[in-house]
Symmetry: C2
Subunit: 173 residues, 2 copies
């Protein structure tokens, strides 16, 4: 997740202009390695619709969209082979994906990550801090039902000013 | 400023238990060096009252509390030599302190930092990320009237999991 230094992942209306304007050409922030390490992506309807608004579909890997309202007929034709819709709860979904051979998924979007954290299905979190203060916006996850302790694994900083830190989630058991 | 990884400087009620429980014995996070580099502290009434609730007054340097409601008679006897009250605006206050020989102050507390940022009186910001998610709480500053771009200067991480990043504020004019 990318976050402004004051802790927001997007402006209140979802706008990412402050993120898009960062000049990071030629820097390897580890995204390709990370994407190579997962079997696919899981996101909510909000993130999916945000990604759909981009000029180009950015993912090579399969994507599962957790939604109770989207129908297959709502998907753009070009995405019907790569995007699956699911109404399962996080644990059931991970079991189903596990039966299909998935071992590790990239879980994206505040509400979805929140529900996966609650189910103790998030193993690690990487946050990249963007060198800007935007003052107001959407928080990383929203409310949690308990604190979640993290173990810091590594931090890397880049010429652009991005600082990326990776943490392991301490599960309660 | 210390901040949870999800971007909060305190729980919604001001509680810092999640910060106090961090095990950082023997680590030098640069606080002493930083305090040696300033001529004194400037804070608001909220931060001042929080610090008063600690077992011991933590500062050696002079402290200016910006408040329109506190009176000298409200100050504990032991602090009347070290704490000054001021009703000046940020620019006027810095001019007055400059006449007294101050060159650099440690400005603490969300609302106060916000007003100093607006007046372009903040030169640099150090944020220390604490390895915990608390889900909800007080934001770093609150709303700003414009984005503030930062230049990343350095990042250090510690065995405790704290990650401290220093930024220079890009002034507009």
């Amino acid at each position: 997740m990318a976050m402004s230094l004051d802790g927001f992942i997007a402006r209140a209306d979802g706008n990412l202009d402050w993120l898009m304007k960062q000049k990071t050409d030629g820097e390897d922030h580890g995204y390709d390695n990370f994407m190579a390490s997962v079997d696919g992506l899981i996101m909510g309807r909000g993130s999916f619709e945000k990604v759909l608004s981009f000029d180009e579909w950015p993912y090579q890997k399969p994507v599962v969209v957790m939604s109770r309202t989207l129908r297959v007929a709502d998907l753009p034709d070009g995405l019907r082979n790569t995007v699956t819709l699911s109404t399962l709860e996080p644990e059931e979904l991970m079991q189903e994906l596990g039966r299909k051979g998935w071992q590790r998924a990239y879980v994206d979007g505040g509400k979805i990550i929140q529900s996966f954290l609650r189910a103790e299905l998030i193993a690690d979190i990487t946050v990249t801090h963007i060198p800007i203060l935007i003052g107001d916006g959407l928080p990383l996850f929203g409310q949690l039902d308990r604190d979640i302790d993290l173990e810091h694994l590594e931090t890397r900083s880049f010429a652009s000013g991005l600082v990326s830190s990776k943490y392991r989630v301490q599960q309660t058991g």
